[in-house]
Symmetry: C2
Subunit: 338 residues, 2 copies
């Protein structure tokens, strides 16, 4: 590439000087050598950021320039309709770039995610989109330094710098709870996935903000976390309704939990209000009214895919996070009839 007539780009030596460390330390950080002290890693990453050091530019010369016209997508769970739509949308963008997409599932196992990342890299894909299961993605650093382009989807990376595209989880959840509060509910049962998952954590934080701003104490007995499958949500809703002072409304943290809540509320013919995160295909046919925090899933997939192809096409700008907005929608079969 050379870079004739272009402004001189910072080198590894510049990074070392700015960070106040040796070139060897910079190299170790770039190559993810685990023995570097965390403070030094931070110093080097900050220096890289300040200088706009484009690591991929340097690294891409280390790779043979040959493209495979293939990208990879690592998702958590092939059977979740949310991920199917993501996969289909990414496939569509890939096709428009005449590129093949291979999709693999991490089955929500961080070790499997890492193994599949490495296997896809060995297959020499041009780039990867990851919906991360794990909370430490530093395993990706050496391959990224060698030129692999990676975009994180739905959850930001941790331990590395990379592009990500996420939903505005906290604000969406906050809006949903504010809507229930405005309707006069003050005992709101909150059911979410484990807070170890980024999206659940962010949504819980939005719930807490809404409650705090309304001056309603955060009542632990109304918060149930670690719920994943609809059948678990059925049991949690039943348990809360059978309690001494049951909630008059529920806030459910994702589409799987919402579906379980609808099931139990309908079985009982119970009229508790229900607001959930995520829209889903058959929400318009649900046999009761509900409110949902909706967003454009296709936009999420498309934005991540376009960002990846920008990177593959040579965009060496600093990694960024793109946030997809949400909106509150009313659903249920009664609305169809009006």
């Amino acid at each position: 590439m050379g870079g004739q007539d272009r402004p001189r780009r910072p080198t590894v030596s510049d990074v070392a000087a700015t960070a106040g460390v040796s070139v060897k330390t910079v190299s170790r950080v770039i190559n993810n050598v685990p023995t570097v002290r965390p403070e030094l890693v931070e110093q080097v990453l900050v220096a890289i950021g300040e200088l706009g050091f484009r690591r991929n530019d340097m690294a891409s010369s280390l790779r043979s320039g040959r493209r495979t016209a293939t990208i990879g997508l690592i998702i958590e769970d092939l059977a979740n309709p949310f991920y199917s739509v993501i996969a289909a949308t990414v496939a569509k963008v890939a096709r428009s770039y005449d590129t093949h997409l291979i999709t693999v599932s991490s089955e929500e196992d961080p070790r499997l995610e890492q193994r599949q990342f490495l296997e896809l890299c060995q297959r020499r894909v041009d780039g990867l989109i990851i919906v991360p299961a794990g909370s430490d993605h530093s395993y990706a650093r050496p391959e990224m330094e060698m030129g692999m382009r990676v975009v994180f989807l739905d959850r930001p990376p941790s331990g590395i710098l990379a592009d990500s595209v996420v939903i505005d989880n906290a604000r969406g959840a906050r809006t949903g709870v504010e809507d229930l509060l405005a309707a006069g509910h003050s005992r709101i049962g909150v059911i979410t996935d484990s807070p170890s998952i980024y999206t659940a954590r962010e949504r819980l934080s939005g719930v807490r903000t809404a409650l705090t701003e309304a001056g309603i104490p955060y009542d632990d007995s109304l918060i149930r976390v670690g719920v994943t499958r609809p059948e678990e949500a059925v049991r949690v809703v039943a348990d809360m309704l059978d309690g001494a002072d049951p909630p008059t409304a529920f806030f459910t943290g994702n589409n799987r939990i919402t579906v379980g809540a609808v099931r139990e509320l309908c079985r009982r013919g119970h009229d508790a209000a229900l607001t959930g995160f995520d829209d889903f295909e058959l929400s318009a046919l649900m046999p009761r009214s509900l409110s949902l925090i909706a967003y454009d899933v296709q936009e999420l997939g498309r934005t991540a895919a376009l960002r990846l192809f920008d990177r593959i096409g040579g965009d060496g700008s600093w990694p960024s996070e793109t946030v997809i907005g949400t909106r509150l929608v009313r659903r249920g079969v009664e609305l169809l009839k009006t």
Copy 2:
């Protein structure tokens, strides 16, 4: 391999003698050379069948024996929940064999299916499961002769001999229509996908059998084919109900069409009976009663995956078709409340 102490296996010469053609012609058929006359292809395939000529055994010696511990899955449409469940189930079986699964979508395009087949073969997967979009799969013959193991899922192959796992489409549809007839319906609106698709064709044939056996004339004005998306089904149901002599019941050929029919019937508050092929996750929450032809989607995926791993493990028996049975189930939210 040699085959010492085992009964002598038929050779290419035996096939040629039985078929009454030259060895060169047999070789051309095996290698999918397009210039062989169709009658000769048939003669050779019949001879291969009669003799139990195990083509993969011969061919596998042509491949390097090295395994990649990876299998491929080519499906039609990543966004259809039916295929997501298939993909997740195949992934689970693959994991139990410590094998990586890569999934690609043919986007219902036969040419893309063929291209992706060849690309996955180039990536040296150990075997492939295909939900075929196209109606001619002879493109797979050369790779299969070279030892590639292929199992067809949901639709049988055409133009080649290979394992397949399919649903009992005709019998399921017949049972569904018989159930509507037994309830007193004689004007049944039938809405299916294009008969160019194997499953739609089989299901239509089951419908026809049920009507014929009940002595009810096959009324073309009650049959609408080529319907794929739910929105199209909405319009077709509306159109039939607005006709001069509307049906009192509907038979819908797949889950996508059923969902559209539920939507339009609910919007109108219309009480026409509804029976559809395929169960779907939220059927128990549908705001009206409906009957569905259900089957075990996971069994479909699991059976195909296990068959593929049998082949990869050396099973050289003659290709077979496995048929997964169906059962009629009642669904709708009213059932939850009892």
